[in-house]
């Protein structure tokens, strides 16, 4: 039996064993999705703490239902290890590691590279390898393939297969989880695509194949570049609207009544999360290699980069109306998660606004029901405080930075001396009393 026939048969019989490299917010939900369908999953994780947590049956990802997690552990379908030599046990290896940007916005490929080396050194003949980490187009074919061939001595398309299948995790999304979000796959060659469809088909409801890994890589970038530029546009229009006495939130609600050709985006203090602030810059990086200048991404990036500074200005001007300087002002930020109702503050613009205000010598504190402490990109550490009446009343300015649905906006506005609302938490269009200032 050929390698190809063998892996297809194993998948069809449900006897395939899937290795998942990286048990973070992408890898662990995917592992649970496979395991729920009875597929044996072996998770590989550098962090001893995470691996131990999985072994102990302790779920650490908000989007996974604890019951699902407990069930797959009890059934023995999900195992975790820090021992990468065990990749030899697996028929497939799915890479779900981070691809951060360094501070010069250059992609850090070290996690993907290390995964390729680990896999190549331990895999069997006939292993299917799929990358899910967002990265620049050409990565699978031009970056991964040579590393794996060199380290394994095997030949792509014959001894192993390569595929790119972008993760589409939307943290906090109640409707779309790993298994019911359509998934794009792009194999290198027809066999790779066929294996990808067979394998992912076990765990994911809808698959869509494209003709190459680089097309699949571009799909993810397009999706998130779309979001970056539209958020940047609405941020720019929000700043202009503020100057023109127009309530941008009211404008967006009205534009949404157009039944075709419009999708609403909302302004805010900047863009957070692991995807939108990063993904477009992978493309910008590779585009430079083609002597191509991505002007839309570049412009959108500039707007986004300036938002925390501009938000600090908004707060400063609000204080100024009360005759107060930023220097020494007591500022209370509400919400530091990068979007509502989640417990994740990485890349959070709220923290960058806090940093800017601190630089101008304000006394900054924050409250977030989901995040007891946080560290900004610049390394400043913040510890959250409780939201007592006294805390609200003693602040010179209260800033809505993330609109968690649990905030009692009415109470907060009633108690606060001054409010800067960066998220339309205070819905009223006309605010007559000069107490609430909006982005």
């Amino acid at each position: 039996m050929s390698n190809y026939d063998s892996i297809i048969a194993k998948i069809e019989q449900g006897k395939v064993k899937v290795g998942i490299i990286g048990l973070g917010y992408v890898g662990l939900p995917l592992a649970v999705s496979f395991a729920k369908k009875g597929i044996a999953v072996l998770g590989f994780e550098k962090s001893e703490k995470k691996a131990e947590s999985v072994k102990a049956g302790k779920n650490y990802i908000q989007d996974i239902a604890d019951a699902d997690f407990a069930a797959v552990i009890a059934a023995g379908k999900l195992e975790a290890t820090t021992d990468f030599s065990r990749i030899g046990e697996c028929d497939a290896a799915i890479i779900c590691v981070p691809t951060p940007l360094d501070k010069f916005k250059k992609p850090d490929m070290s996690y993907i590279e290390a995964s390729c080396v680990d896999i190549a050194r331990h895999m069997r003949h006939g292993t299917f390898i799929s990358l899910e980490s967002t990265t620049y187009p050409t990565t699978t074919e031009d970056f991964m393939k040579p590393i794996i061939e060199r380290e394994s001595g095997m030949k792509e398309g014959l001894d192993f297969w390569l595929c790119f299948s972008p993760e589409r995790i939307d943290p906090g999304n109640k409707q779309y989880k790993t298994d019911n979000t359509p998934k794009v796959v792009g194999g290198l060659g027809e066999e790779a695509t066929a294996i990808a469809l067979a394998l992912y088909g076990k765990a994911i409801e809808h698959l869509h194949s494209v003709s190459s890994p680089r097309a699949a890589e571009m799909v993810k970038i397009l999706e998130n570049t779309y979001r970056l530029i539209n958020i940047s546009l609405i941020n720019e229009l929000a700043l202009l609207s503020g100057k023109m006495g127009i309530n941008i939130w009211e404008v967006i609600e009205a534009a949404k009544t157009k039944p075709y050709g419009f999708q609403a985006f909302y302004p805010g203090p900047g863009i957070g999360g692991h995807c939108i602030p990063l993904d477009p810059f992978y493309l910008e990086y590779i585009a430079k290699g083609f002597n191509f200048d991505l002007t839309m991404i570049n412009t959108a990036g500039n707007i986004n980069n300036l938002m925390p500074y501009r938000m600090m200005n908004k707060i400063s001007f609000a204080l100024n109306r009360r005759g107060k300087a930023m220097n020494g002002a007591k500022l209370l930020f509400l919400g530091v998660a990068y979007k509502p109702d989640i417990d994740d503050a990485r890349e959070s613009p709220a923290l960058l606004v806090m940093d800017e205000c601190k630089k101008k010598l304000a006394q900054v504190s924050y409250h977030d029901p989901y995040i007891p402490e946080a560290q900004s990109e610049h390394g400043t550490r913040y510890v959250g405080i409780d939201l007592s009446d006294e805390v609200i009343e003693s602040a010179d300015c209260v800033i809505f930075a993330t609109n968690h649905s649990s905030f009692d906006v009415e109470r907060i506005v009633a108690k606060a001396a001054l409010v800067v609302d960066l998220r339309n938490a205070v819905k009223s269009v006309h605010i007559e009393d000069g107490k609430v200032f909006k982005l």
Copy 2:
């Protein structure tokens, strides 16, 4: 009875008479929508030809059903005139005149200004005035109101009311016409908004009010700026994808499988029509008055401006593969309308590509089933030709510039020596023979 009570009563009784200034692709459908509901409409039109056409019961707008038009004329509910003194007969005046940009992208307000003067000099006390023409925020309040007060000697809010209600006409849209497209209204003051809701409610199914004319003005700009920047983004990504060996059309189809947070836009030779290439630049104009630089619009505009030149390059490189120069090459363009299946070539990017190729000494001809002759922005006149086999075979290159659904793509590709496809008319992802080049 107050002026306000009087106009509200007339509207409720269906006895209101509506004047519509400008019987173009916005005004005439709106006139028919009112007239269909039994409201008497008097259309004002500078063009003797258009006014005569209406009087003769001859419809000249593709989006109006001929039967509807005939019915309202037969019922005596729609009249047209070139005599603006008859505005005195009307209870309401709705302005639907053009707001072009001059070649320095400065808004030409002369049509709105002339309408204001005409209305102000002839209107009765208690007239409701609504502007539908797309324009920059503040126009209704800061530009129109002073002209009308000066010319009429009347007082806004007391003797007449002002409103902005953006037209949302999408030429060729089979589903959404004037009456079933939700309409935004923003009156100056509560009475104006109440009258607007009552009056437009007679003809339009869904209304959405905002707190001011300037908010309503911004709504329309937001809708079309959204489209400009997304089309510009996808055009830029299409150009990069071409260099990287990625089929952008395939990428877009795959991205569309994301069930949230994505809306597909398609690349093309540039942006046409009366709205998207213009509207964002009204905002850019007024923003300068606020010392505000709209970088997203500016960047998007630059991409769009360069597209015809880049498309000429695409054609030139395709010819070059065949050892042919642009100089003297016979080029056949298919479709010059600015979008599929409509008969409108104004602001059409196809004509600009043709101009660029002509400048490089190509022999340019075109075929469009809906447009027998056309003139580019630069003033070049083109006369369409029939699409015989001989015409296709004798061309050095056939260019799909607009994807009219009536084109027999298979036949055209079979007969053509070389094809440049700017609209994904040729659907196959892999084109092996080097005959078809895609944007």
